[in-house]
Symmetry: D2
Subunit: 278 residues, 4 copies
């Protein structure tokens, strides 16, 4: 329906929507769907509009630039499939879901390539005629390892990197090149279990729910802004292995949900939180 | 946070948001949260804004009136608890939930009174010091029955009527006096069961889910615009009685969810559908 | 953990569990998990035991046969992956999920082959090195069509046939050859919509939930014993196409859930209902 | 349907079910529903049977006693409403749910009394004609405080104590008098937040799910065996207050779910875990 998405974030002030919508109107565009939110804590203004009409991106951008506060971030995205690179290690459950959906055009993205630090998933990726790049972390420094991955990833000019169970911790310098553009998932529990082997701890404690969190990656491990969370049922008949399997199911589901939100430009990052216009 | 809610529906045309937000801005108001949606089938425009600032309702209304299409419906509600009347018969499960939440200020409404065609629930209502009106349907015509209820209800000037398992079918003329202002719930199944005793049919069929639907009442029984739907689990150990109990649980939950949406002016009716800005 | 599953159904009478468990004990076996249920309506007795120990199937069967009522059905299954044949037409969403899970050993079954009345899914099936059999329904009688499919299916001696969006209605005679051994899924709504294009009807009605039902196939279309049901959320922003996609998601999920139950011998059929020892 | 529930736990050995079911049979009883589970880690045997027939409790107990291992715990409960005492402080959301359901006979328990360390909830409890006992913790030692509560509770001979947001930490000596007979609930998050004001932390982190856990109380705060867990949705529009309200909703729901399981003797404690025959 819509042809472009307009995203604006800035400090809130009276009249912002008037300025934005009047500018949009003067360019002859229609607003199909609008979501706006002012964060009462930070006074941040967040807006997402789906626009239709003949749109000159640069012209609209320039007009908005002159009218909006200096700190405004203005993004105008034509409706298009976003380009993503998937990073994985050996676990297949998230990768296979993405590749199968991609194959049948069920996910609103082009998967440009898969990068992995192991070759285990290469045969599966090849079934889908997608580039698979092996970058082993062995025998090289972390710096060199990340440099190689960045080189490969950058060559594709992706919109987002998706960590589909990529088991290497990324450095702050790597992350800074894809600020709020790396999506990761990890399992979680109620309560959380600190230390080694959380599934074993969850088993020992007899948890009845296993959770998973999708988030943007920042410099603190697994502590970036949360995009989406889901849980799955467990019971006393579950072995540790069953719990791991259930964890895989919910990781797969939460990654797909989060990606759908991200790929449609529905997620804003505000400090360590997200605004999600679902 | 907000002081008023602004609701607008009309036929969509380019520039509507610009007109509305500029008018709002010129009155010195800020838009805290905005949701807008254009129905691609009917070309209907729906908008809900949470406003803050010193607001002159009549002045804002007049300004919007002159600028918006002639068919525009403009509603400006100060932030306040809405007034509701609850109609019930003998089943307590929805009524008791509403009264308890009302007692502890957990629902954003004033329950002004309970009207029932049986006296069974009177002692319970009295615990909460609320007016209870008995209007028996026996020995009087349906016309007279409804006239008495309408007289009572109107005397309270409620915003909405809530049918909390009110087991009398309302006539079209009754409904027309509270167009899209009567909320009802009924159970539902996958698949649906037509005819008498649907719970017995659901039991015989071994359904694994029992559902409930909250909707606005229109002239077609249980076919009005859907506000909210929920399901609850069932299994082979459930007797018919257990299924009825599960149905009560999910009816109670879906009514509370739907009322929360309605009481915050988040639900628009568009033909036989709703637009819900949850 | 367990080596065999013992399944018994018969008319209930006092002492059944004593007879069964004593027989099992006398054969030197241990019962790891037992589930038993007596249907209060039909007086049917249903039992599922997970056994461990050195088990002589014929010997245990013979002993139970002599001790249990004449109408007892006694099944003793060694722990093994069940063999299934998947029937599909053109929709890929259920098939691709099963094949991917099968490839990664995530489903407790051997998929022996895929049979389809269209060639559309052949390239996808071939990625997974599985036999694909095309049996077109065109230019031949339904009788001949089903005979060909049965011939193919029987040649694999499968435990179950799985209809993963197989869009041909099977005759009673076909079904009778795989009595309670054909698993199907179909979408459902609250309320149900009768007639053509239910998704369009659901869209017109603005439903908030889309459901799916997995069931055994019997001679009445989509009315066989229900194994599992699930729902997924919908809202006013969903187009008919979005609703169809949501329907696919929930069909895929409910089929996987139901198959997991069936493949672990957790589902009994009792008349038109199921007993599910989940 | 059933007249008694038989619960047995002991170390597993071959032939246990045979011994138990034969003993039950010889007493002329029928087993309507049986659940059995052997914990593969501890080799613990857990069984729950619903029995029907003319049952002599002492006689059945004695027979089982002689046949089962010395460490067997044997419980035979006639079908009856269990007696519970509810402890609360000032939060009403769990208490009001229990009292309302109790009033309408929706919960399978007799609430004998409410004990609180504040008088805030007294008027509400009095609406339901139930004893309310105020035991202030002020100006007395913890020892004396607990002694008074125990004295009151013991005078009712309850089956279980239910902590419906009772905000005092109980000592190990108190707990030992009601070993695995005190049910508590607390909120939880994904991830967990350690330290003061977890809701504020959850708000700052932008969590998308808020959870609650019902558990038996042991000597480690909020770390007893988990009975049930649930989650509820949250999003960026939630204030800290909204998050607290959502937490209340899910605490209320998980307490009701857990109590239903406990009241039907469906929960076994095994070390720090539960076996739940739901």
């Amino acid at each position: 329906m819509y042809s472009h998405i307009l995203l604006i974030t800035c400090t809130d002030e009276t009249g912002l929507i008037s300025k934005i919508s009047t500018t949009v109107f003067e360019q002859g565009l229609n607003i199909i769907v609008m979501r706006e939110f002012v964060d009462p804590v930070t006074n941040g203004f967040f807006m997402r509009c789906e626009l239709s009409g003949e749109l000159e991106i640069q012209s609209l951008y320039n007009e908005l630039r002159t009218k909006l506060p200096a700190n405004a971030q203005i993004v105008i995205n034509p409706k298009r499939k976003k380009d993503i690179i998937v990073l994985a290690t050996k676990e297949y459950h998230c990768l296979s879901d993405l590749l199968t959906r991609h194959h049948f055009d069920e996910i609103n993205a082009n998967i440009l390539a898969v990068i992995s630090n192991h070759d285990y998933l290469e045969p599966f990726v090849q079934k889908f005629q997608l580039p698979f790049h092996l970058v082993s972390h062995e025998n090289i420094s972390k710096e060199e390892f990340e440099k190689q991955i960045l080189g490969l990833a950058n060559s594709y000019k992706p919109d987002w990197l998706v960590l589909a169970k990529f088991m290497r911790i990324l450095s702050a310098s790597f992350i800074s090149e894809y600020q709020n553009r790396i999506v990761n998932i990890h399992h979680s529990f109620l309560p959380a279990f600190v230390g080694a082997n959380p599934y074993k701890q969850a088993f020992d404690r007899g948890v009845k729910l296993i959770g998973a969190t999708a988030h943007f990656v920042n410099e603190i491990l697994d502590q970036g802004p949360i995009i989406s969370q889901k849980v799955i049922h467990a019971d006393h008949t579950f072995s540790v292995k069953n719990m791991v399997q259930a964890g895989h199911e919910v990781e797969r589901a939460v990654l797909f949900e989060a990606l759908n939100l991200v790929l449609e430009d529905r997620v804003f990052v505000a400090g360590n939180k997200t605004i999600v216009f679902a």
